[in-house]
Amino acid sequence: MSGDTETRAIRQLPLLDQENRAFWTGGKDGALLIQRCAACRRYIHPPRPRCHCCGSADVASEAVSGQGVVKTFSVNVQQWMPGLRVPFVLAAVELVEQDRLYVLTNIVGCPVDQVRAGMPVSVEFEQVEDVWVPLFHPTEQEA
């Protein structure tokens, strides 16, 4: 199926705004940027202009390691529109920086049937227009 050149990833891009711009463009410099509260040090994703934990408005995006584990996933088989390449994996990746800090993403770089919950993954970026979409691939294990 991978030889089928008729299909591709079709990503409906986000409208960039003050809150989400860092997340979607950090990849330009190779960084996964996640919003963090300067007062209580909690990460907040999706980003908002106020920390819902402590009420501080002193929030800003900062680079995280880009490491996480697959919390849960789904192998999407259905071709929802012409040209959409399937199967692909939608996943929630829990970033190592904080419990329940989830990023929805696609898992790439391995066969879809090898994705498992608990699998360590690392970020990479796919540029589409003015957006650097954070994707995750299996982390290479040390020998």
Partner: protein, 392 residues
């Protein structure tokens, strides 16, 4: 007195349901409203409140083609109050608003409706119901899903189904019991869309949509409308028959579906506050429920709702439904007796409340739960609402 104790359901109507229908969405809506009025023994002149969920969305693939204003004009209503909101407690939100309008003294009889015409939309354009289909760039909660090709709620709920399977060791055979049960009920419902019985083997052989959800785990787009009339209990002497009493209601709004999943581990709905609220407003307990209409836009939602609302402990719904005996017509908790959305069509929550009325008015025919006096309804996968209904 609690708001819901001042209100009742005096009438319920459902249009013909088509896949697709040869009637317009507005015509289906009027049909449902007229049937609800006849059911209550009321006329349009009696209606002084009007609301719907989610309000008109003309570019949304038939998701909500009819608004309150069109219904007001078509029925010649002169309502004191009109409401509609896309936010809030999902499908149950409009019903809860109607209860509050009645309890506040603003209205005596509120007409509430929900119309879908997604089968017609898909007949015109196969991909009309794909999420985000019409927008150039994604905004809001969808902006966290669509860049990752989450073009269907099936893919999102697949995350929750897999999370539930992984945490509790639940199996496809257990999840499939929801689909098999729905079809068995639908076989007894002349208005259901899919009426040929299926076995668990049929389920396991059905094609995968987004793992672990199969085609038989997903509801089906239809054209149809449901209408309810929420009245003040004081009006009971004016009604055609004994109204259905609203014993308790519960509601919650949480992050699921808005891009924010930080309130859980993908094995449960963040709807615990619905249960907390609803059970705090009644002396009844889960053991008192005779029949349940539990939301099944996707089969996994039924399991998650059964746990969230307190019918089962965490992780226990899967074994409760396995084999189907306990949720069948003769079981301890007959479930989704119309066939649910999986087999009777995606009437988007309102079908569940309508079926609760059918059961409590003893009009279920071949699918009637004998002696049903209490019915639990839960709605929603993005906002959450529940009603505990009973007869006097």
């Amino acid at each position: 007195m609690l708001a819901e104790k001042l209100a009742c359901i005096s009438g319920a109507g459902q249009s013909d349901v088509g896949r697709p229908s040869d009637r317009s969405a507005l015509a289906l809506t009027i049909q449902a409203c007229e049937r609800a009025l006849a059911s209550a023994g009321l006329t349009p002149d009696d209606i002084d409140g009007l609301t719907t969920y989610p309000g008109p969305m003309h570019d949304a693939g038939g998701h909500s083609p009819v608004g309150a204003t069109e219904v007001m004009l078509s029925l010649g209503l002169e309502p004191t109050w009109v409401g509609a909101s896309t936010e809030g407690h999902a499908h149950m939100g409009a019903i809860i608003e109607a209860i509050m309008a009645v309890a506040s003294g603003l209205c005596r009889h509120v007409l509430v409706f929900r119309t879908v015409a997604q089968a017609t939309a898909r007949a015109r354009a196969r991909h009309a119901t794909v999420l985000g289909f019409d927008a150039a760039r994604a905004m809001g909660g969808m902006s966290w899903l669509l860049p990752y090709q989450g073009y269907s709620a099936a893919t999102l709920y697949g995350l929750y189904a897999q999370g539930y399977f992984d945490k509790y060791g639940a199996t496809p055979e257990q999840l499939g019991a929801i689909a098999v049960n729905g079809r068995a009920m639908a076989a007894l419902n002349p208005k259901a869309i899919f009426r040929d019985p299926i076995t668990i083997e049929d389920y396991l052989c059905s094609r995968m949509i987004s793992s672990p959800l199969r085609i038989l785990d997903c509801d089906s787009h239809v054209d149809g409308s449901t209408a309810l009339i929420i009245s003040h209990r004081d009006t009971a002497p004016d009604l055609a028959r004994a109204p259905i009493l609203i014993e308790a209601m519960g509601m919650a709004l949480a992050g699921f579906g808005f891009g924010d999943h930080s309130d859980g581990d993908f094995s449960a709905l963040p709807a615990g506050k619905v249960a907390e609220m609803m059970w705090s407003r009644t002396d009844l307990t889960a053991k008192d429920i005779d029949v349940a209409q539990i939301y099944d836009g996707f089969s996994i939602l039924t399991l998650l709702w059964m746990e969230a609302i307190g019918l089962c402990g965490p992780g226990e719904a899967a074994s409760f439904v396995e084999g189907g005996t306990r949720i069948g017509l003769g079981g301890e908790l007959p479930l989704n007796t119309s066939g649910g959305q999986l087999s009777a069509g995606r009437l988007h929550g309102f079908g569940h409340t309508y079926e609760a009325c059918v059961q409590l008015w003893n009009e279920g025919g071949a699918r009637q739960v004998e002696g049903a006096r209490t019915c639990l309804v839960t709605n929603g996968g993005f906002g959450y609402g529940a009603l505990l209904l009973r007869t006097d």
